[in-house]
Every structure is written in structure tokens, then in C-alpha cells.
Amino acid sequence: MKSFEYTITDPVGIHARPAGVLVKEIKKYASAVTVKKGDKAVNALKLMALMGMGIKQGDTVTVEIEGADEDTAAAAIEAFFKANL
């Protein structure tokens, strides 16, 4: 399993557009991706659940990537967070 921590800089937080693009991005990989904030965790393929976390600017999230292609997936997803969130 791979994981990274990231602090959200987007003023609206994980809102519909980046969440939607994130789901599309994750679908490219076989690995399961979990986004955790505090004691809450969601499968990042679930758009509305992800939005329902209410992740805001300044929140730090932990992203876990687990599966056969976790190395490439982790790098790509971390790059996505930095570029879009």
C-alpha cells in the first residue's frame, strides 16, 4: 500500500469538478483508492460520498492507494491533487 498526505489549497475544497475528474483519473487504475480525513474514510470512486466529506481549504487528507499498479497510480494521483486541489 502507498499513501500520501495533502493539504487542500483550493478555496472551495473538494468540490464537484475536481472530485469528478478525480473519479475519472482513479478509474484508469486497478488500485483501490481511499481518502481519509480524521476518522472518516471513503472509497474515492464514490463521487457523492467524497463530496459529502465536506473537505475544505486547509484540511489535510490522507490518500491511500492499494493494488497491483499502486506505484504508478500513487504518483499520478498525488500529481493530480497538487495540480487541481
Binding site: G13, A16, A19, G20, V23, N43, M48, M51, G52, G54
Partner: protein
């Protein structure tokens, strides 16, 4: 062939199938299903249809207005195929044997409640998106487009009359023209039709029968004639008329880029009235110089709850930046009277036209006004903004509203949020009080805009929605024209500019009058811009001014 006579309120000829407006169904049946697998497949098919529709809408929006415009539909698409949403529906259908419509409705409630309960206004607003997506899937399941138009080809839309909240939700690309049973020339259907540049006929009563649905109908907005299953001669005549109008349009195209200048060198600004950011394309397409009236009500009509500051800001910003530095006058909330919104919870009034409406609501409920003013000032950084207050009768109302503007500016300064210092502040002149006080009001504003629909209604004490009062409701009445002259004189003495943003602005029979009394700006529906420019360019004010002014005072002209 069946011929019906109504009243034409927007010109043009259109041919197409007749389609009755479907009112949204208020109840969805719940029942237990026998064959859960077939029911599940029924859901999957509807979901696929909804996703395909949203994809088409996204592409259309992208082609017309770019990537940002496509975003809403893409978000809806992603919600429609969201894994968790689908799982909730699957469980309801396959485990609880619930019919698909009810399962979708339950999932909609579950997820929209989740969003509504969040503390961030952005996420709260997503509750409406979930409901919207779910309604689309339910519509695909039931085969009835809820409040929409479920037809592969564009139609002539028939209805008893359409409420403002209904007209804003219509898919405009599917409408060739309107026919309504009731209504008046100033009803919302009529205004919408003129904005869209398509024909509309009102007041056909019960002559139009539901069994005509789907049959070919030709409507002629200049005569008010509705013909169902036209015979060859009638059809040939009307098709020729349609062609002639097309040629006329082509001729008007040549006026694009030319100034609105009379033969003797007097210029007047020609701006547009719009009701939503989508209308900007038509404003620019008709070469108007700006927006003289942007009705902000659509933002409120489109929501289930008070629209947030950010939501409003985005809409205002879009119009201001799309207009690329041309002036945009946005009218603050103008509801009440014939425009009611549920969540405002306004108590019933015996006489709503004289009641708690427009600026009165804003001053009585400053928290609503404050949100709108903040959104407006924030947007002012993105273009050239004018803010206009409707339904003014006294100087103190304007002073109180301006004080709130100052308060908002102070807040934004403190928060480090940019805004323009050059926002013009104006008022609608639509009450006799505002006309009579225009010398004083001119000292506290930058501009006046005459709302001739209400000004006529209040000056003549004549309800504009009442079809029986047609001949008493006369916007050419000298009382109305004298009021306009008085407003102009008082404005110009104080260096204030005057526009007309009511329907009268586009009335070519009065263009000479408006030029003679010195109106500075006419704000009309986009389609009226070029015919008006043609009329202005043909006019020599020095030749007609004396007669026009004499007519306003003449005893013979008291009607």
C-alpha cells in the same frame, strides 16, 4: 384546416408540431415489483438515457459558451453514474422490490439531504443538483419530461399560460413559438418570446383543443392567426411570409456595426433587456451596445432556497465578463406582485401590485438585499456595472439602499476583496410618485430607467395582466408620454441619463417621440435592436421635434 384567432404578441411565422406543456407530476407512485431484474434493467436504461442527454447538453453548452458552461451538465452526468447513488437504488429495487421511480426518488432525498445538511453553502447548493439529476432519470422512466419538452424535433408550445419559474426551465432550443390560452401582451410568455425572437400568440381560449397535439400548426405572430393542418394555399402564403421575414432579417444584418445616429446627427444608445446569462449571446449577436436591464429574478426562481452570494456572484460575473467592458445594468430583486417565489413565504396580499414588492422587500428584509449587493459589488471588478433599484417612490428609499451599498463596499475593502469604484447607481421610474419626484430623485442617482409596463399600469390605474382591460391599457396615452418628458427634463437638468427599459422602447411608432424628448438610451429585446437602429437612422429629429412636443400638449391628443 382549422383556423383560430388569438392576439399576436411577438411577431414572426413558425411551423411545427403542436405540443402541450406538461406540468410536473406532483406524486410518484410507489409499488412492489414482481420481476426485480426487469425493473433494474428499466432503471439502467433510464440512467443511460439521462447520461446521454446530459452529454448532449454539455456538448451544446461547450460549443456555445466554452468549457465552463459545460461543467454543470458534466457534474450532473457524474452524479447520475455515481457508484454509491446507483448502489442505493439497486438495493431498493433488488432487495426491497421497490419500483424504479420510487427508488430514484428515495435516493434523491437521501443524497440531497446529505448535501443540505453540510455547513458549506457551496455543498448545500449541490442538493438541487442531485434532485435535478434524479428528476431527469424519473422523466426517462415515466416517458414524461417533467415540465420539459419530450420531443425529438422543435415544437410550437401550447399552454394555459406559463409561470416565470416554468419559462426559465424550458429547453429553448426545442421551441419554435408559443400559443397560450390566457395571458396578456406583457405576460412572461410574451416577454420570453420577444427575447428569443420567436412568435407568440396569446388569448386563444378554449378554441385550442388537446386533441390537436402532434398535428402540424402554423402560427403568425403579426396577425395572431393559428392554423392547424393548413391547406395548400394557406400554407404557401404563410411559408412565403416566413421567407420574406428571413430576407428582412438579412437586410437588417447589414446594419451591424453602424451607429445609432439620426440623419441630423443625434445619437441614442440601444441596449438589451435580458433575463439570464444565456441571453448575452443574443445581445452580442444583434450588435447591442450594452445591457440596459438584466432581471436578476431568474437566480431566485431557479432555486429552492435563497441563492447564495457565490452563486449570484458567478452569474453576474459571467454576464459582465461576457459583455467585455460594455455597460451592464443589473436590476436588484424585483419580485412580488405577479412574480411570487415560494420560499420567500410572503403573506397573501389583497392587492399585490400595490404591495410588498421589489425594493420594498429588499428594504424590509435587508439580509436578502445585503447578499445580493455583495455579489454585485464583487462582480463589478469584472466589467462595467450599473445597479438599478426597482419600484421607487421616495428619496429616502434610494438613500437607504445607497447606504447599504456603502456598507457593502466598506466590508469588501476590509476583507481585501476587489470591486469597481465606478459602479453607476440608478432607479427604475415606474410609479407616478417617482415621475413627480424626479427632480429630487435625480440628485441621488446616476441614471433613470423608465419601466413603461408598470409606469403605464400605475399611471392609468390599469392592471396589465387583465386581458379584459386591453383597450384601457394604452402605453401611448399622453399621460404616460408626458410623464416620460417630465422625467427627461428633470434628469438632464441634473446631469443624469435616462433610458427606457419597458416594452415601449421597441415601439417604432414612438421612436421619433423618444428622440425628440431626449431619451438617452433604449433597452429592448435583442431582436428589436436592428429594426430600431434602422428607424433611428431614417429619422431627422430637427424635422419632427416641434410637432411631437406640440402633440404632447395638444387637447386633440388626450384620447
Amino acid at each position: 384546416m382549422i383556423s383560430i384567432q388569438g392576439k399576436g404578441v411577438s411577431t414572426g411565422v413558425a411551423i411545427g408540431p403542436l405540443y402541450y406543456y406538461q406540468r410536473a407530476k406532483s406524486t410518484i407512485r410507489r409499488y412492489e415489483v414482481e420481476d426485480v431484474e426487469t425493473e433494474w434493467q428499466r432503471f439502467k436504461a433510464a440512467q443511460e438515457k439521462a447520461i446521454a442527454q446530459l452529454g448532449e447538453l454539455a456538448e451544446k453548452a461547450r460549443a456555445e459558451a466554452g468549457d465552463e458552461a459545460a461543467l454543470l451538465f458534466e457534474t450532473h452526468q457524474m452524479m447520475a453514474e455515481d457508484m454509491e447513488y446507483e448502489e442505493a437504488i439497486q438495493a431498493a429495487v433488488q432487495e426491497n422490490r421497490l419500483n424504479a421511480e420510487a427508488a430514484v426518488m428515495d435516493a434523491a432525498a437521501q443524497f440531497s439531504e446529505m448535501f443540505a445538511a453540510m455547513d458549506d453553502p457551496y455543498f448545500q447548493a449541490r442538493a438541487a443538483d442531485v434532485k435535478d439529476v434524479s428528476n431527469r432519470i424519473i422523466a426517462a422512466l415515466t416517458g414524461v419530461a417533467q415540465g420539459g419538452i419530450d420531443s425529438p424535433v422543435p415544437v410550437i408550445l401550447a399552454a394555459d399560460d406559463l409561470a416565470p419559474s416554468e419559462t426559465v426551465q424550458l429547453d429553448k432550443s426545442k421551441i419554435l413559438g408559443f400559443v397560450t390560452e390566457g395571458g396578456s401582451g406583457s405576460s412572461h410568455t410574451a416577454i420570453l418570446a420577444r427575447t428569443m425572437g420567436i412568435p407568440a400568440i396569446i388569448g386563444v381560449g378554449d378554441q385550442l383543443k388537446p386533441e390537436y397535439e402532434g398535428r402540424e400548426v402554423i402560427i403568425d405572430g403579426s396577425t395572431g392567426n393559428v392554423v392547424i393542418d393548413a391547406d395548400e394555399d394557406a400554407k404557401a402564403y404563410l411559408v412565403k411570409k416566413m421567407e420574406d421575414q428571413r430576407k428582412q432579417r438579412e437586410m437588417l444584418e447589414k446594419l451591424k456595426g453602424l451607429p445609432n445616429e439620426t440623419k441630423d446627427g443625434q445619437t441614442i444608445k440601444v441596449f438589451c433587456n435580458i433575463g439570464s446569462p444565456d441571453d448575452v449571446a443574443a445581445v452580442l449577436g444583434n450588435d447591442a451596445g450594452g445591457v440596459g436591464l438584466f432581471r436578476s429574478e431568474f437566480l431566485y426562481l431557479n432555486c429552492d432556497d435563497y441563492p447564495t452570494e457565490d452563486y449570484q456572484f458567478e452569474a453576474y460575473k459571467k454576464v459582465l465578463s461576457d459583455m467585455g467592458g460594455r455597460e451592464v445594468v443589473i436590476r436588484t430583486l424585483d419580485i412580488g406582485a405577479d412574480k411570487q417565489i415560494g420560499y420567500f413565504n410572503m403573506p397573501h396580499e389583497e392587492n399585490p401590485a400595490l404591495g410588498n414588492r421589489a425594493l420594498r422587500i429588499c428594504l424590509n428584509r435587508p439580509e436578502i438585499f445585503h447578499t445580493q449587493l455583495r455579489a454585485l459589488y464583487r462582480a463589478s471588478a469584472f466589467g462595467r456595472l450599473g445597479i438599478m433599484f426597482p419600484m421607487v417612490t421616495s428619496v429616502w428609499e434610494v438613500k437607504e439602499a445607497r447606504k447599504m451599498c456603502e456598507q457593502v463596499k466598506a466590508e469588501l475593502t476590509k476583507e481585501g476583496i476587489p470591486f469597481s469604484e465606478d459602479v453607476e447607481i440608478g432607479i427604475m421610474i415606474e410609479t407616478p410618485a417617482a415621475v413627480l419626484m424626479s427632480d429630487r430623485l435625480a440628485k441621488v442617482v446616476d441614471f433613470f430607467s423608465c419601466g413603461t409596463n408598470d409606469l403605464t399600469q400605475y399611471t392609468l390605474a390599469c392592471d396589465r395582466q387583465n386581458a379584459d382591460l386591453g383597450r384601457f391599457y394604452n402605453p401611448h396615452h399622453p399621460a404616460v408620454l408626458r410623464a416620460l418628458k417630465m422625467v427627461c427634463d428633470n434628469a438632464h437638468k441634473n446631469g443624469v441619463w435616462v433610458g427606457i427599459c419597458g416594452e415601449l422602447g421597441a415601439d417604432l411608432a414612438l421612436t421619433e417621440t423618444f428622440l425628440s424628448i431626449g431619451i438617452d438610451e433604449l433597452s429592448v429585446s435583442p431582436r428589436a435592436v436592428l429594426p430600431l437602429r434602422q428607424k433611428i437612422r431614417e429619422t431627422d429629429v430637427s424635422q419632427v421635434r416641434e410637432k411631437v412636443l406640440a402633440d404632447l400638449l395638444s387637447d386633440e391628443n388626450t384620447i
